[in-house]
C-alpha cells in the first residue's frame, strides 16, 4: 500500500516537473504580485468609497468675510497690506485728516460674498504722516511680486507724493467688474 502511494506521488511530481519550469513559476508568481499591487491604482469608480466616508460641512469660500470696516476680514480689503485707515481717523475709503491719498495706486478686484459679485477696487495709501500703527492688515488675494509692480502691495504707493511718508491704506470701490 505504502509503495503504491509512493509511486503515485512520484509519478505526479515527475509530471509536474516535466510540464512546468521554475522560471515559468517565478514569472507567474511575479506577475501575480505586480497585478495585486497595481490593482488599487486602476481608474475604477470610488464613488461608493466616498459615500461611505463621513460628510463634512461645506466650507464657504470666504468663511470670515465681513462688512466691518475696522476688520481685516472686510471683503473689500481682499488684497490690502498696511494699516486700516478706518482705525486711524479715516474710513475704509477716505484718508484721515492731515494725510493725502496717493495719486498712484494698484487696482484689482474683490469678491463680495454678500451679493456674489466682483468689484473693482483701488488700494490707495494715505501719505504725509508717520505710520498709523493700528489695525495692521495683510491680505494678498491676486497680489503679485515686484516684477508686476502695478499689482504689488508691498510697494510704498506714497512714492509719488510730495511727502512720501506712509500712514495707512484705504480700499475704494470703483465699480462692478464685468466680463
Amino acid at each position: 500500500m505504502q509503495q503504491r502511494i509512493d509511486r503515485l506521488l512520484e509519478r505526479a511530481s515527475r509530471r509536474v516537473a516535466q510540464r512546468t519550469s521554475r522560471r515559468g513559476f517565478l514569472g507567474l508568481f511575479g506577475a501575480a504580485l505586480t497585478g495585486a499591487t497595481l490593482l488599487p491604482l486602476l481608474p475604477v469608480s470610488r464613488g461608493g468609497q466616498a459615500l461611505a466616508e463621513p460628510t463634512s460641512p461645506k466650507v464657504p469660500a470666504s468663511p470670515t468675510a465681513s462688512d466691518d470696516p475696522v476688520s481685516c476680514d472686510y471683503w473689500k480689503y481682499c488684497a490690502i497690506d498696511g494699516f486700516l485707515c478706518a482705525c486711524c481717523g479715516g474710513s475704509s475709503s477716505s484718508c484721515p485728516p492731515g494725510t493725502t491719498p496717493s495719486p498712484i495706486t494698484w487696482i484689482g478686484t474683490c469678491h463680495n460674498p454678500g451679493d456674489g459679485r466682483d468689484y473693482i477696487v483701488s488700494y490707495n495709501d494715505c501719505c504725509g504722516k508717520t505710520s498709523c500703527g493700528a489695525c495692521s492688515c495683510n491680505r494678498n488675494e491676486g497680489e503679485k511680486p515686484m516684477y508686476r509692480l502695478s499689482l504689488n502691495n508691498d510697494a510704498n504707493w506714497c512714492m509719488a507724493n510730495d511727502n512720501p511718508n506712509y500712514h495707512c491704506s484705504v480700499s475704494v470701490l470703483l465699480g462692478v467688474a464685468g466680463q
Binding site: P103, I104, T105, W106, I107, G108, T109, I120, S122, G142, R148, S150, L151, A160, L174, G175, A177, G178, Q179
Partner: protein
C-alpha cells in the same frame, strides 16, 4: 505609414499639453475683460489715474499727449513702445482696444487719427524703449508741438 507614436512625437504631445495647461493657468489669474473701459481701470489707471491725467513730473498725462502723438507714425510707434504698453499684461488686441477707447472718449476728432490694430501693437511693443525720457523729448521737439504739450516733455 506607421501608426506608432515615436518618442519625439510623444514628447511633443506632452509639451503641447503642458503649454496649454500653463496658458490656462495664466489666463485664469486675471482675465482680460472684453470691455476696454474696465481694462483701462485694471491695467492702466493705477498710474495714469482714472481720467488719464497722470501725476505732474511723475507719471505722464494721457489726456494731452496721446491725442497729439497718435497723429504721426513716429508718435504712434513711441506710444506702443513705452513701458506701460510694452510690459502690459494686456493682449495686443486688448491694448489696441484700450487706446482706441481712450482716444474716442477724448475730445480728439475721429478724422484726425487712425484706430490702432492688434497687428500694429504686436509689431511695435516687441521693441520696448530703453531711453524713454530721451525718446519723448526728441519726439516732442521734432513734432514742434504746442506749448501745451511741451510742458509735458520731462518724465
Amino acid at each position: 505609414m506607421s501608426t506608432l507614436i515615436t518618442a519625439p512625437t510623444s514628447f511633443r504631445i506632452l509639451f503641447l499639453i503642458l503649454c496649454l495647461q500653463s496658458t490656462e493657468a495664466i489666463s485664469l489669474e486675471r482675465p482680460e475683460s472684453t470691455q476696454p473701459a474696465q481694462n483701462y481701470l485694471l491695467f492702466c489707471a493705477g498710474c495714469h489715474g482714472l481720467t488719464g491725467s497722470g501725476v505732474p513730473n511723475k507719471v505722464p498725462t494721457l489726456t494731452r499727449t496721446l491725442p497729439a502723438f497718435v497723429k504721426s507714425a513716429e508718435g504712434r510707434d513711441f506710444v506702443l513702445r513705452v513701458p506701460g504698453v510694452a510690459n502690459s499684461a494686456l493682449s495686443d488686441q486688448g491694448v489696441a482696444q484700450v487706446l482706441n477707447w481712450f482716444l474716442a472718449s477724448s475730445a480728439t476728432s475721429l478724422a484726425e487719427w487712425q484706430p490702432f490694430t492688434a497687428e500694429e501693437v504686436q509689431r511695435a511693443r516687441r521693441m520696448p524703449l530703453m531711453s524713454v525720457s530721451q525718446s519723448r523729448r526728441q519726439l516732442i521737439n521734432k513734432m514742434e508741438l504746442s506749448s501745451e504739450i511741451s510742458r509735458d516733455i520731462d518724465y
